[in-house]
């Protein structure tokens, strides 16, 4: 997946001289995950900008560039380190168009590796997507395949609105797949049906797609037909895809690795409890991380796995 991201950046930069990158260690070092490898050489230090160690500065200056009309793509080294720039995101980036009566669009893309699974402990593992999905004015995108990573990132860079582009670092290298050539875009705001099914709907995204897929596949043998929806864009949510699936299956399991309490799954459950109530035949199950910080040595106990997802699906399907 990380090569797909690299390709998307290269494609966008080649296509439009006003696309530029900024962040820590993205230049000569090529990014700590190598997402920007080779781009400094290709596009020069005016367009691949190694910044001082300040997320406030990275995001604040990216906003200024966007106000002026450029298309900056900021990299935050780990999502866990975005908080020094959080004020610029929620107070400024998300609200510029609105507060100026539409005079100042602010199309910054913030890319950041996020999530667990690399033994990163409390500060290299968190999934705090809800801070951003709850913030009106931001779009929030999470790819789960190389093709989507490339296509969604290209859409994000040329989107008129600010986009938080959260990259599930655990599958940077683990997940491979075909990637179309050139400026092939995947639309923001549309979920992806990973597999069709009629007994239960499973909603997941990012690094939870592989274990969710495993769980669904393994249940086939037991005669359970699970539909798996990769939400892809967390905000704005593709509500009709969610409702459409549950109207068909009558049952839902939501999966994410973030903490459960007020996590993203709560919104999906709430939408269903509100708008698909009469279709629902069973409680809405949430398979999530725990309501703790992210642990180091025991991270495999923390992260939802295929077995936990499978158990939840079975329980949901068997519920009266």
């Amino acid at each position: 997946m990380v090569q797909a991201i690299n390709r998307a950046l290269r494609t966008a930069m080649a296509a439009d001289p006003e696309v530029l990158l900024l962040g820590e260690d993205i230049g000569v070092n090529g990014g700590v995950f190598r997402a920007t490898e080779g781009l400094l050489k290709e596009f020069g230090s005016e367009r691949v900008i190694d910044t001082p160690l300040s997320e406030t500065g990275i995001i604040g200056t990216a906003i200024g560039m966007a106000l002026y009309g450029l298309k900056p793509v900021a990299e935050i080294q780990f999502l866990d380190f975005i908080y020094p720039g959080f004020d610029q995101i929620v107070s400024e980036l998300a609200k510029f168009r609105y507060r100026s009566g539409g005079q100042y669009p602010c199309h910054v893309v913030i890319r950041s590796p996020y999530g667990g699974g690399i033994k990163g402990g409390l500060y290299h593992s968190q999934s705090t997507e809800v801070y951003f999905t709850h913030t009106a004015g931001l779009k929030v995108v999470v790819p789960s395949t190389p093709a989507d990573a490339q296509g969604l990132l290209l859409s994000a860079i040329f989107d008129p609105d600010p986009v938080m582009f959260l990259e599930p670092k655990r599958i940077y290298r683990a997940v491979t797949g075909e990637v179309p050539e050139g400026d092939h875009r995947v639309p923001i705001g549309k979920a992806r049906n990973v597999r069709e099914g009629h007994d239960v709907s499973v909603f997941a995204y990012g690094a939870m797609i592989p274990p969710a897929t495993d769980a669904c596949q393994s249940l086939e043998a037991e005669g359970i037909s699970a539909e798996l929806i990769d939400l892809r864009t967390l905000s704005p949510l593709d509500t009709s895809a969610v409702l459409g699936s549950v109207e068909k299956t009558g049952r839902a399991v939501v999966v994410h690795e973030a903490a459960r309490f007020c996590g993203y799954g709560a919104e999906i459950a709430a939408v269903l409890a509100e708008k698909a109530f009469y279709s629902l035949k069973a409680p809405v199950a949430r398979v999530t991380g725990f309501d703790t910080p992210f642990p180091y040595a025991l991270e495999n106990l923390y992260l939802p796995n295929a077995a936990r997802i499978r158990e939840a699906i079975v329980a949901t399907v068997k519920a009266a």
Partner: protein, 358 residues
Amino acid sequence: MPLLVSGPVATSTLATEIAPEDLPSIYRAMVVARALDERCLTMQRQGRIGFYVPVMGQEAAQVACAWALEAKDWIFPAYRELGLALVRGVTPEELLDQFFGNAADRLKGRQMPNHYGYRDRNFVSPSSPIGTQITQAVGAAMAARRRNDPIVTIPFFGDGATSSNDFHAGLNFAGVFRTPTIFFCQNNGWAISLPRSRQTAAKTLAEKGAAYGVPGVVVDGNDVHQVFRTVRGARARAIAGDGPTLIEAQVYRLGPHSTSDDPRRYRTDAELAEWKQRDPIGRLKHELVDAGQWSEERDSQLLEEVRADIAGAVQRSESVGAADPLSFLDDVYATRSPALEEQRQQLEGWIQTGLVKL
């Protein structure tokens, strides 16, 4: 006081001193600012506008600074920048539309008074959180340079804002990337109730520039000439590619922090009285009178004229209707999301049935 701590000779051809014939116009802008302040403070007490932040006392620094810039330079204001707005050609009526948040307000009634922005005047739309415009101005300067636009960006902020995260990051990035940015700090002595002396143990705010390799300079903000000259110098330096400058304009906030504030709780009458004597409007008036460019008579005439103008603007602005009730659901994104579309329809229904009211 040296104009700039360092930097080569300016290459800009702009004059380094105010043209004498411009002084009456500068004076007029200051008078308009003061009159509008007074009018708005009254209207706030009468409940006709919700809130107001007076500029009172900082007119010289702002007007002279704006005068030294070119119209294409990007201003990143805070919430106390009436003097700048007037020089940029924003009319009292436009401002009042924003204060009333009415249907003519370019911000569609979304922001509190004083948070106006005008893209066509290169006057960026501010927020309330202190300091955030500083890094943004640096980013815009980097963008301008990338496009080879010979402009400067100039964030305005107060003494309190020097403690903000964005001051630190903004000056640091500007120093590292040598951006064409003028950091214009209006040190008005107070951050609400906190005096400058307790904001930081540094001797001056200008000397903070050294921590970032950015030259810093202190100016008497009540002296239009010194302000103009310093800004022109910094601008020339920036345009020549020699990087940013931090200017500390020492002024005084003669009024309350805002209409929610009572400065008698934290500062003495004596201090206020002392600064009233240095009121920049009186000072420039004396200078003009001494130079034979002005008289008490013309002054009263000007004041009357300005007040009448403002009264007319208030009348027109106050009679404009309220903002479109559905408009607050726009501009969250470039196009409405499905959820916002649904919420808009809901709201429309609620308004029709009287469930919600303005």
